[in-house]
Symmetry: C2
Subunit: 727 residues, 2 copies
Amino acid sequence: MQSPNPAIALLLQTGVASVDGQMYLLAVLGISILSLVVAAGLARYVIAQDAGTSEMQKISNAIKQGAEAFMRRQNKTILALSVVLAVVIYIGYTVGKPDQPELAFRMTLSFVLGAICSTLAGVSGMWVSIRSNIRTASAARTSLNGALQIALRGGAVTGLSVVALSLLGVGCLFWFFGGLEHPQDVPTQIVAFGFGASFVALFAQLGGGIYTKAADVGADLVGKVEAGIPEDDPRNPAVIADLVGDNVGDCAGRGADLFESTAAENVGAMILGAGLYSVFGIGGILFPLVARAFGIIASTIGIFVVKTKEDADPMEALNRGYYVTTVLALIGFYVAVKLLLQGNMMLFGAGVVGIVTSFAFVYITQYYTEYKYRPVKMIAEGCVTGPATTIIAGFAIGLECVAAPVLVISAAIMTSYFLGVNAGLVGVSEQAAGLYGTAIATMGMLSTAAYILAMDTFGPITDNAGGIIEMSKQPKAIRDRTDRLDSVGNTTKALTKGYAIGSAALAAFLLFSAYIDEVKALLKMDHNAPFPIDIGHVPVFTGALLGAMLVFLFSSFAIKAVGRAAQTVIQEVRRQFKENPGIMKGTSDPDYGTCVDIVTISALKAMVVPGLLAVASPVAVGLIFRNFESAPGGPPMGAVAVAAFLMVGTITGILLATLMNNGGGAWDNAKKYIETGAYGGKGSDAHTASVVGDTVGDPFKDTAGPSLHVLIKLLATITLVAAPLFV
Amino acid sequence: MQSPNPAIALLLQTGVASVDGQMYLLAVLGISILSLVVAAGLARYVIAQDAGTSEMQKISNAIKQGAEAFMRRQNKTILALSVVLAVVIYIGYTVGKPDQPELAFRMTLSFVLGAICSTLAGVSGMWVSIRSNIRTASAARTSLNGALQIALRGGAVTGLSVVALSLLGVGCLFWFFGGLEHPQDVPTQIVAFGFGASFVALFAQLGGGIYTKAADVGADLVGKVEAGIPEDDPRNPAVIADLVGDNVGDCAGRGADLFESTAAENVGAMILGAGLYSVFGIGGILFPLVARAFGIIASTIGIFVVKTKEDADPMEALNRGYYVTTVLALIGFYVAVKLLLQGNMMLFGAGVVGIVTSFAFVYITQYYTEYKYRPVKMIAEGCVTGPATTIIAGFAIGLECVAAPVLVISAAIMTSYFLGVNAGLVGVSEQAAGLYGTAIATMGMLSTAAYILAMDTFGPITDNAGGIIEMSKQPKAIRDRTDRLDSVGNTTKALTKGYAIGSAALAAFLLFSAYIDEVKALLKMDHNAPFPIDIGHVPVFTGALLGAMLVFLFSSFAIKAVGRAAQTVIQEVRRQFKENPGIMKGTSDPDYGTCVDIVTISALKAMVVPGLLAVASPVAVGLIFRNFESAPGGPPMGAVAVAAFLMVGTITGILLATLMNNGGGAWDNAKKYIETGAYGGKGSDAHTASVVGDTVGDPFKDTAGPSLHVLIKLLATITLVAAPLFV
């Protein structure tokens, strides 16, 4: 069964069902559970470490309390919204599909399970990360390697549980819904799992993103700029809120983001695999899960490999782990292709394209956000002539930096598409074969997701550790150590964002195609029938225009929310400074709790409108445009206009998110570059200007940008779930 | 011939050619020539006015010299590029279409004529405007109405010559190429006229836009911020360059921009009209020209109506003129529909939709850029907490402000489409009929173009007049008068940008459809055959992605160019202040000429790369994608990918241009709002922050934003000209 030769493949088709679906599914579930056990073990390992001085614990506990209070309230809000939506889905499917009574139940169950797993992934990751920060700080007092390992392993708890929970959820639903008996029908019945995950992720990322930047911007403006005290100074009443923000935004938010990525893309790829049933049998459907399971194993080994010397660059150690993970993931991918895709080397090639793409994205992100290279230097130069030129230069870089990723993604999509077309898949339309190629590339890109996510969560842990060391006034040698880790953490956070948007772009096609496949199934059209999304047709073009508009409007809400919430922080801090002059003298403690509360309330209030806008818009477009006539002989206008809405919304989202992520990162590092002494260093006018750039970049790179990743995928999953409404 | 009833229309079809094409064409050419005579008369009227004191003339002459030197050099560069392109077009068509030897000649001639007319429109407009400024200033010493009328009539020279030259060029080519004998074939042969116009306009808008903002930003940063001297202070060596910039950017640039709008849209609508030959005969083809000719008459009358009392708001006088123009244009439109479109009331309705759309755009732009309303107030509030929150608030407003225009355009496109569908056009496909409806709406929107353009050019004239009054140290009462006119000029400039982008959006479909019609003609496909631009197909999606990317990259080049050129200004001014301390003391004159030269050189150097990028990209996409297989039975992939590139590029361009125009305008007016005394007024920290916002907004609203209008239409016209390459 390992020949890519189409003639032999044809001969083998009769034996195709002989791929033992049950065995592979069990293996996937087993590996997922094992990964959760490993994650639990890592959590135990972290908890067992020394928890520092009582001074340090006091700070850490304040962070823990703030983060947990926020998560509790946020989850309550999300839960309420989810229950409403679950009821809507149940009633919608019961009324709309009375001929398939079990579908309403299955959709609702999938949605609820997706929402629960997404919440769990976020909560468990944050649970460990707020316990890792103090232990990382404590270990930093004696050894760089100790601190590095605790931070990464703490991050790995998030990485492993996110990917394992997504596999477990999808795998269990597939089995429970009888996927082994009806493998072609079940994948479309679990799309709501991805939607549930995206729904929670959107609010988690939005709420957390607004929280973290409102606290950060507020604390910086009133502390660094107005009162002239350094970052993380314990006299700043907003400092704990700022540290809490790192956990709830960067950590829980990104965890939910990547959870829904893996969930949505697994389900999407399974739907495409179902379309190739005649070629690969159940193998094509289970391939995404098996490839991902191998990826988890590769990531786990990669995490354990990381070790640094006291005087080495910790980034090198993390990179070594990444290389090990990549090589192992590649081997695992090859094995999965051998076992499930008849060893089709063209499809393996598509997987390699995906892995190469993730490398390219990591490199491009580094080029645009590290101060060794031209872009950040250009912004730093702009700082010399004041804040206006700082902003102009940074915005120009943000606009520029979309070019390279788009070229890479274009090349990756086209290459994997043509590898798919030439994979010799007999009886499959050229388009379906090509799309499966892009799906395989996405699987390749995401095979290292668990490791990447561990590196990402490493960021807020080291950031918090640095804050604790700073606030508990440890000696300079120790602060230098946490500063080095913190700076590495900034890099890994930027890389993950590049990776997340790259995978979102590559996966976009997967999800579009899954949607089109589903609409075809609903209309009882042939799987290989053409389904043109003709944007040369006026109503379709209008749908596309509205999709692009949604992305701008959504970003506006996210950024305005940060501005508004930051204002409340600034006012509170000013009030405390005014009413209690002892704070600035260091004789009395500021009231950290009130700041935490204020940001919590503002952030949760602000996330509702953009969240609902994102959910309601595609449904509204579908319902409005279904009233228009379709092109003669073409598919119904509602479904087509929504597809255009989704596709052009995705294109715009990818560009705007890249602009915001990299622009924000570049401003941040232009400031860091000046702080190394360039253009007058700290305290110079250039430095003041660079702080303005950094502050502007904050809501770009940590609120709107990451929320757009989730938005793109939410649009894709909601259209999948709501598809019956549009036809 | 006036019945919209399809049955009667059918009966009348045999008599359709009886619309006397020659008579209408002669009328159009006559009205165009008459309008040029009126424009010349207005120029004479302006020149005959008092030219002020010798002190004022000294300043005015410096502006004139700088502007003329820039235009000379710029036109030389553009000329060189145009000659190269003309040769490429000639050779391309000779080699590619050897069976139609006359086509190469016709395309090249059209291109050259379009380029020449576009240059002429820019030059003549600026010629008058740099002579109107001093006379406006002089008149302001005695009467507000005198100044208002001189400034508007000076602006009207641009408005009338732009629209008349475009009609004259298109009309003459149509006649010369035998359009009266072969009305269906000729419109596609003159598409290069639009391309020539767009090509020149792109460079004029880019070069002028970079010049004006580099001088402005440079002068402000080094003058207002560093040296603490007011705007337009004669001690600032960059002040003349700044005033020159108003003429070459706002005036010549926008003139070329709207020239190519009217040219491209006339030709596009004629191509669509050719597709309806069976219904309207030559009437459908000549309709755009006749409607536009009536529009010129309406605008001329509107201009002569404007008159203000000494104590009235000059904006009200301008609005009265606009209302008169609109009502007359509506009547003219109705007459044109009666005469040429069989009095089809559905199509007249589409024209009304266009006129209503232009009103809506004017209103939306005012809402987002005037300080009476929430958006600007929100930015002003952000100024209180410093430059970072100023930028964040302004950017959020910029992102938000795309929503209303997109909804209006969506409604306008859909309504006019369905009016077209229901117009009872017998023997025409639903899609072609609907598209003709959107074309008619575009004609409606553009029928007031000459008046709008006159109001727009009014802006830089009053701006310059204010500068001359300020620099020649006139009494406060006179300065107040020019300040009032200047503030009205700011509003009209913002409105024109809203109008320009709105008409670009509405016209987008016209030009897409013209492109698709042309590709069909090249492929000898039936005019009513489907031609899906299926973005669900991977190569097409990739084309779309690249189109969106081009818009971002192009904007980045434009903004970077401003930053870079502004740096050269800052360095030069600093050098002069340092080497000649007498300048600041007011004892010796600064060297204005060097600043003018430096900006000229930087701006012209910087415009070449983005300009060529815009021209080369669509051609490159077409040539690359023509190597890919088309969908089974579908049109060739090269042509389809270019269409997706164009359409999604247009969508992205509309959104980004709106963000930049309105965001920039809002920042500008937040500053003005604070200067009225809000939040501490001039000199407060909020004011300093608002200056940062204003400076950031400058290259957005005056360089990148307007250049994107031209880019959108350049993409449309170049794809029309290069279409034979893609099939």
